[in-house]
């Protein structure tokens, strides 16, 4: 039986009309922005399933755009987010896809950072404003963003996990959940670590500087 906190019942404070199609979409956008490193030059937003079908009426496209600009789900500027993007010089493209993915409320966000680096995030809005990130740069992953999350991109070689958890132990960061994902042995892999307290930028740098096998570290 699932347990609920008080503010899941009285709350969230949000811009309407729909907790899944609007508030959840903002959160997927927020997460994509953070994973991309916090700065966005260009973004391509693709809406699938019910997001594509009723997204216009629910402002899902505007909500995703607000999310990548870093607006909160209760920011009333949400309805003008496309205009805000234009003012900020962020190039936004919206695609309503008729392809069917696993979850009906799914969005794919491709972000180009000012330094040209590309990040692609696929997330689903699973109800009540809650989300799941399902895909990261082509890799199937799964996390909710409800906890401070450390994303470590690395080469799939022995010792990396040991190193990362050792640094976290030294910094007294308690790990709530941890998952490792890879496509092929020895190649690109992701570690998703959900923690009880946020991981600072210094700790991220400590992890990153350890070896060439760690290619990217993000605290989101």
């Amino acid at each position: 039986m699932e347990n609920f906190g008080l503010f899941e019942i009285i709350g969230p404070r949000m811009v309407g009309p729909s907790s899944s199609h609007t508030a959840g979409a903002v959160r997927i956008g927020n997460m994509a922005r953070k994973i991309a490193g916090g700065e966005v030059k260009k973004a391509e937003l693709t809406l699938y399933g019910s997001f594509a079908e009723t997204g216009r009426g629910h402002g899902t496209d505007k909500a995703l755009c607000a999310g990548i600009l870093g607006l909160a789900p209760d920011d009333e500027r949400l309805r003008y987010s496309m205009l805000l993007a234009q003012e900020a010089g962020v190039e936004v493209t919206v695609i309503f896809s008729d392809e069917t993915l696993d979850h009906p409320n799914t969005a794919r966000i491709r972000i180009t950072a000012p330094d040209g680096r590309e990040t692609e995030v696929v997330g689903a809005s699973i109800g009540g404003g809650n989300i799941r990130i399902n895909e990261l740069n082509g890799m199937n992953v799964e996390f909710s963003g409800d906890y401070p999350t450390l994303i470590v991109r690395h080469r799939d070689v022995p010792g990396v996990i040991n190193h990362v958890t050792l640094v976290l132990a030294k910094e007294k960061v308690n790990i709530a959940f941890m998952q490792v994902f890879r496509h092929v042995r020895n190649l690109d892999a992701y570690m998703i670590i959900e923690t009880d307290s946020p991981v600072s930028q210094e700790v991220c740098e400590l992890i990153q500087s350890w070896s060439e096998d760690v290619t990217e570290v993000r605290s989101v």
């Binding site: 039986m1 699932e2 347990n3 609920f4 906190g5 008080l6 503010f7 899941e8 019942i9 009285i10 709350g11 969230p12 404070r13 949000m14 811009v15 309407g16 009309p17 729909s18 907790s19 609007t22 508030a23 019910s50 079908e53 009723t54 216009r56 009426g57 629910h58 402002g59 505007k62 209760d74 009333e76 949400l78 309805r79 008729d98 109800g127 009540g128 404003g129």
Partner: protein, 293 residues
């Protein structure tokens, strides 16, 4: 003492043991489970109350058309008729206030989901209107939100508060049950009376489907909040009058869950049944440029 009550019965036992109303037990539960201080959660709840007030005010006095153009301004229309309303001015204002919030929601304004965005009008509309009439302070209203939260939490845990899982009975039914319990406690009713009020509200709309025209949170959602507000205050008055619910709260919640399971998916937020598939409903969907199911 285990404050993580899982049923109405466990909640009533805790109230009896501590001599506290539902609001106080719920506050302690939240402090224990979240690890936050009383001050932190009270200040979070105060922000919710402020947003609720603002959403009622905006919906009544600064009405806006929704993004689709399907709704907006009905709360204001009812407010202008309030003095002549057959149901009486107070009741008309209470219902107008509830509709106002859902209109704000449809126009991409800021609201507090209670328990959802689609049912966000009932609790603030009724509580704030009654507060004006009865002189209830913000402090009392904050307590009332905890009481409402306790009832909503129990329904979410033991049934559902999502239209996609349980239909409209799970959304506006829960909103009305939360409101009824809050009103009962504010009016001096015991915890038993508060849960009786909640049980009555849920029973009144058991089986209500979720059939949004064009899949949007507008028609019939805004008017379902109107009847939900009436349901909330009516159920509170019945319980406060000493009228019992033959079926206890917990069993009503389980029954609602079972009804939700029996309900076809076509009648649960998919816009594949009810008025959503009426000829006019379909025409509106087409007119808005949305794909046909």
């Amino acid at each position: 003492m285990n404050l993580d009550f899982k049923s109405g019965e466990e909640l009533l036992a805790l109230c009896k043991e501590t001599g506290c109303p539902i609001s106080a037990v719920m506050r302690s539960r939240e402090v224990t489970l979240s690890g936050r201080s009383v001050e932190e959660i009270d200040s979070e709840m105060a922000k919710n109350l402020e947003t609720m007030k603002e959403s009622v005010r905006k919906g009544l006095y600064e009405p806006k058309e929704s993004v689709s153009g399907l709704s907006g301004g009905d709360a204001e229309r009812l407010m202008h008729r309030a003095e002549k309303a057959l149901m009486g001015e107070d009741m008309a204002m209470l219902i107008a206030s509830s509709m106002a919030v859902v209109e704000v929601n449809a126009a991409m304004g800021r609201i507090v989901a209670a328990p959802t965005a689609g049912a966000s009008g009932i609790l603030p509309g009724v509580l704030l209107s009654c507060a004006k009439k009865h002189g209830w302070t913000d402090e009392m209203l904050l307590d009332a939100l905890y009481t409402a939260g306790a009832v909503g939490m129990l329904i979410a845990r033991n049934a559902s508060i999502s239209g996609a899982e349980g239909g409209c009975q799970a959304e506006t039914g829960t909103g009305a049950a939360m409101t009824a319990a809050a009103l009962a406690e504010l009016s001096g009713g015991s915890p038993e009376v508060a849960l009786t009020a909640a049980a009555i509200a849920l029973k009144n709309v058991m089986g209500l489907i979720c059939d949004p025209v064009a899949g949007l949170v507008e028609c019939p959602c805004i008017k379902r909040n109107a009847i939900g507000a009436a349901n909330g205050i009516l159920s509170a008055d019945l319980a406060l009058a000493g009228i019992k619910s033959l079926i206890p709260f917990d069993e009503v919640v389980t029954s609602m869950k079972n009804v939700g399971r029996l309900m076809s998916a076509d009648l649960k937020e998919t816009a594949r049944g009810g008025i959503a598939t009426s000829p006019t409903g379909k025409a509106i969907r087409k007119q808005l440029g949305l794909n046909e199911e």
